[in-house]
């Protein structure tokens, strides 16, 4: 697959074309924080300021609130109306390698024993256009988790910002298909290819902070009972849900039915294992104490998930570090074990 390129000032026209056939989502600052929003029809300069969004792309496949079904009491029992996602295709433009990997990580879970139709339909109907990082954030540590900020095999089409142009590389058939529909595309020269590769390498070097993953499973296991350590780590945590909700791999949810006497709906919504009532049951709450909840979250990501699915459920995006009001740092927590 040869490299192609497109000039950045032609992006607006390109987005216009995409919007005709697809639901196009691009990074935007219009809501007071960086998020993937439907394209506003005008701005296409996000590459100049975009680092990463606050809410991760998982929200586009596994929304914070999702109506699953509606039911109505009829004469002969309940009539159920399933609300599966529609067939329209979403194009997500500008997804970072860490977030793309995160989607692959939670794909495994959502297609495990029970194949989640809500998540999987959206995943199949989406085209991911990745954008490589030219400058890492202070909070990034993807390199210690085998993720490269300058390339990605987890998207459909991968772009690198080489100045005035975006270099593009197809990764999957969907990506090739999308590329063939794009106008304003030209072939990239060998020089431009090497420039992109160099950029990728230099970004890797700029990421200096890392998380210690050597012998991780053994270290996690042997420190499980270390109550003193976990109490120390969790003292400043305030048990909100910010880290879990901004994490691209966290996936816990709650399902509730809300109804009045005649009809109602079943809704799935994000839930957080950090919140005190997450494990509350009629008889007891096994994670009543804060340190148990913090311990459980790190073990889930760094021990149980690798045990079950062969991959650490963390991609080094750094959002949890950036958004935590009290600066609980996963690199520190894991480093101290």
């Amino acid at each position: 697959m040869g490299y192609k390129k497109i000039k950045k000032d032609q992006l607006k026209a390109l987005f216009g074309e995409f919007s005709k056939d697809y639901s196009l989502l691009v990074p935007s600052r219009s809501k007071g924080h960086v998020s993937f929003n439907p394209w506003d029809g005008d701005s296409a300069d996000f590459a100049e300021w975009y680092r990463n969004t606050t809410i991760p792309p998982k929200a586009m496949f596994f929304p914070p609130v999702e109506e699953m079904l509606r039911f109505k009491k009829g004469e002969e029992g309940y009539e159920i109306e399933e609300l599966l996602p529609g067939e329209g295709t979403q194009v997500i433009f500008g997804i970072r390698p860490c977030d793309a990997r995160a989607l692959k990580i939670i794909d495994i879970l959502f297609s495990d024993t029970y194949k989640d139709p809500y998540y999987l339909t959206r995943r199949e109907n989406a085209i991911l256009v990745g954008l490589g990082c030219n400058e890492p954030c202070e909070t990034c540590f993807c390199t210690s988790l085998d993720i490269s900020p300058g390339e990605s095999g987890d998207v459909d089409l991968f772009c690198t910002d080489i100045g005035d142009e975006l270099l593009m590389e197809t990764v999957s058939d969907k990506g090739e298909d999308l590329l063939s529909k794009m106008s304003g595309v030209s072939d990239a020269s060998g020089e431009e290819e090497s420039k992109a590769k160099e950029l990728g390498e230099s970004v890797k070097e700029k990421i200096t902070r890392e998380i210690n993953t050597s012998g991780l499973l053994e270290r996690m296991r042997s420190n499980f009972e270390n109550r003193e350590y976990w109490e120390g780590v969790s003292r400043k945590c305030m048990s909100c849900g910010i880290c879990t909700y901004v994490c691209p791999t966290c996936h816990c949810f709650d399902i509730c039915d809300e109804n009045n006497k005649k009809d109602g709906k079943r809704v799935r919504n994000w839930d957080s294992c950090k919140l005190p009532l997450f494990t509350r049951m009629p008889m007891e709450n096994p994670r009543h104490e804060k340190w148990r909840r913090i311990r459980q979250r790190y073990h889930h990501k760094f021990e149980y998930y690798p045990m079950n699915f062969d991959t650490i459920a963390c991609t080094g995006c750094g959002r949890c570090i950036r958004e935590c009001p009290v600066n609980v740092d996963v690199r520190e927590v894991i480093g101290g074990i």
Binding site: K31, G32, T54, I55, E138, G232, C256, E323, D329
Partner: protein, 316 residues
């Protein structure tokens, strides 16, 4: 101030006067601090006092349930006193180390003024009334007071009113109240339906992370009303209607205990201007009842007390 703090904190632990020290520690990210809660003397070396000490540490003593030495700025000390007024904490269990505060720097404002992204700022140093900012290899000097949090303007009590050890010299109150009420004034100028639209839009962003609730020292309920499911007052999921009801009721429950420390707004990951709600209530309480929270630890909280002359012009 930092050295004095480390010395005093060390003494308190060594002499067994407190079980824990709660202070501002070095953050793992530039221009941030992180609460440092420790009973070990060797950790005290990480205590800092710098222009970025935004955290309100007064939410921690209740959880720790022991004697603590706590570091507070002006706004935090009023939150702490509010908890004493509410009988959630005993004054005798606290050794208050007061930090007279000239303002806390809002890194977003520094980024805006330097016309750069936050990650491009490499260093910030306080030099008298200015900040020397290193961005992308070049230096800029910005007036310090231009980039402090909105809440810092018009701060009437920058020096803690209740303390055991004062770590620096007193700071006079600021007189720029108008600037801290900017968001509120803008909203008051809109008409009612525009205001509702504004809040509807803001709360469509809310993901119900409860960062605002958990960071707030005044939210000390063991079981919040949103967590009650018999009856289910507010849906557990994040629709804008429920998000708005949650925040409005939280505001009303916290009214009279809120010292406008601004942590709720700082914690919010999606940037909802929560101070425009909370600070409005602080002003209303002053207006209606002449009450300001956290001034006198012996005065009763505003809603456990009443006067025969309370305004009732709105009651038929």
């Amino acid at each position: 101030m930092e050295n004095k703090l480390k010395e005093e904190a060390g003494k308190l632990l060594k002499e067994g006067k407190v079980d824990y020290i709660i202070g501002f520690g070095k953050g793992t990210v530039k221009f941030r601090t992180s609460p440092l809660i420790t009973n070990k003397e060797e950790d005290l070396d990480n205590l800092v006092i710098n222009p970025f000490i935004a955290n309100n540490l007064s939410r921690y003593p209740i959880e720790l349930k022991s004697r603590v030495g706590i570091v507070v700025k002006g706004c935090d000390s009023r939150s702490l006193t509010s908890l004493i007024q509410d009988n959630k904490l005993n004054r005798e269990d606290l050794v208050i180390l007061g930090v007279p505060c000239e303002g806390v720097v809002d890194i977003k404002k520094v980024a805006d003024q330097s016309k750069a992204e936050i990650d491009q700022i490499t260093d910030i140093n306080r030099e008298g009334d200015s900040l020397a900012v290193q961005v992308n290899g070049s230096s800029k000097t910005i007036p310090f007071r231009d980039v402090v949090f909105d809440k810092c303007y018009g701060c009437a009590h920058p020096t803690p009113l209740e303390y055991d050890i004062l770590l620096g010299s007193e700071v006079p109150p600021s007189l720029e109240t108008e600037k801290s009420l900017k968001g509120i004034k803008e909203l008051e100028e809109m008409d009612a339906s525009d205001r509702w639209k504004f809040w509807k839009e803001q709360f469509s962003k809310c993901i119900r992370c409860y960062g605002c609730r958990n960071v707030c020292p005044a939210c000390f309920c063991e079981r919040c009303f949103v967590d009650v499911n018999m009856p289910q007052w507010v849906s557990t999921y994040a629709t804008w209607q429920d998000n708005l009801v949650f925040q409005l009721i939280r505001t009303l429950h916290v009214t009279g205990r809120c010292s406008d420390c601004g942590e709720c707004e700082r914690a919010c990951p999606v940037g909802i201007p929560l101070r425009s709600l909370q600070r409005k209530m602080v002003e209303e309480i002053k207006d209606l009842f002449g009450y300001e929270v956290g001034i006198d630890k012996d005065s009763p909280p505003v809603f456990t007390h009443y006067e025969a002359t309370d305004p009732e012009d709105f009651i038929k």
